[in-house]
């Protein structure tokens, strides 16, 4: 016979919830074991980016970003918010704030040839918006997108030139 007092009832509900949680955990581990193995091996520690899914997108260092910028060999895109961009950015960079709701990439950029080199950056450290922008550019058909992961932080630390203002020609 089951006791029907509120306390034992509450325990029963709680137990059900815990079992559902435990089963969820087991199913998750079982289904995603290949992905979990990759994580344990050390993948996805920097970003949840699968290079194989985004051919043409790769990470670059400050030195490479500086070279490309100095040679004017790439279109530089700043993925930070407009206000940060206005306070200072890589000279000649265009601002394409990659907000969560996915603001549009300007037509003028989309119309450029797909094989042109594009460098994207954001604040640096753990910022994710440059990678998000790189993925969107990839989906738009661009084939050479380089993510300068050190970002604005590394650029200024290295004492490289900066430009202020909203910079949109």
């Amino acid at each position: 016979m089951r006791a029907d007092n509120p306390l034992s009832e509450a325990r029963r509900v709680l137990r059900q919830a815990l079992v559902i949680g435990a089963v969820g955990l087991i199913v998750a581990v079982a289904v995603h074991s290949p992905l979990i193995k990759r994580f344990v091996r050390g993948e996805f520690r920097e970003s949840f980016f699968q290079a194989a899914e985004y051919p043409g997108v790769r990470m670059i260092t400050l030195a490479e970003a500086e070279d490309l910028w100095a040679a004017a060999a790439a279109l530089v895109l700043d993925a930070r918010a407009r206000s940060f961009f206005a306070q200072g950015h890589v000279p000649g960079a265009r601002n394409v704030p990659a907000d969560g709701s996915g603001s549009a990439i300007p037509r003028e950029i989309l119309d450029r040839p797909g094989d042109m080199t594009i460098v994207v950056y954001c604040e640096g450290g753990t910022c994710q918006s440059s990678l998000a922008l790189a993925k969107r550019l990839h989906d738009e058909g661009f084939k050479d997108i380089r993510v300068f992961s050190g970002g604005w932080e590394e650029w200024t630390k290295a004492g490289l030139p900066e430009e202020k203002g909203d910079g949109q020609e």
């Binding site: 509900v13 059900q16 919830a17 969820g24 992905l35 920097e46 949840f48 969560g100 994710q128």
Partner: protein, 139 residues
């Protein structure tokens, strides 16, 4: 609180269905969901990964239990708990002024904001009705 059996049945199917759907779209692309969690900038890379792997299955299972009518109150407790967490998370995100995708319904997601909170509260109401229904009166 709603006590009508037919209405509670509809609540169960709607809420269960929504959670199964929300979980399923995330299971299909765990890394994308992990990135969504990371974007909230509350937990680091590893916790984002773990949450992205486990959370969708929690949503699917509790949704399925609710639809099947098995352990409905336990399932309603899991779902209500998740919704309370989502509401707090979204509110904190708004207060911090972050502009992130809510990551809630796959392609149907939009910016984490007031709309998302209101939706979560509406679902929470359904969850509460199911959680606090009297035993034996449930459909």
């Amino acid at each position: 609180m709603v006590r009508n059996k037919a209405v509670l049945l509809v609540f169960r199917l709607v809420l269960g269905g929504l959670f199964v759907y929300a979980g399923a779209v995330k299971v299909l692309d765990p890394l994308d969901f992990a990135q969504n969690i990371r974007n909230y900038d509350l937990v680091g890379q590893s916790l984002s990964f773990i949450a992205a792997v486990v959370l969708p299955w929690l949503e699917i299972l509790s949704g399925l239990f609710l639809i099947a009518g098995v352990w409905k109150r336990g399932a309603a407790l899991v779902i209500s708990g998740l919704l309370v967490f989502f509401v707090v998370l979204t509110a904190v995100t708004m207060i911090r002024g972050l502009d992130v995708d809510c990551g809630c319904f796959g392609a149907l997601s939009r910016k984490a904001g007031l709309g998302v909170i209101l939706e979560d509260l509406a679902m929470l109401y359904l969850g509460m009705c199911l959680l606090f229904q009297k035993r034996g009166t449930s459909p």
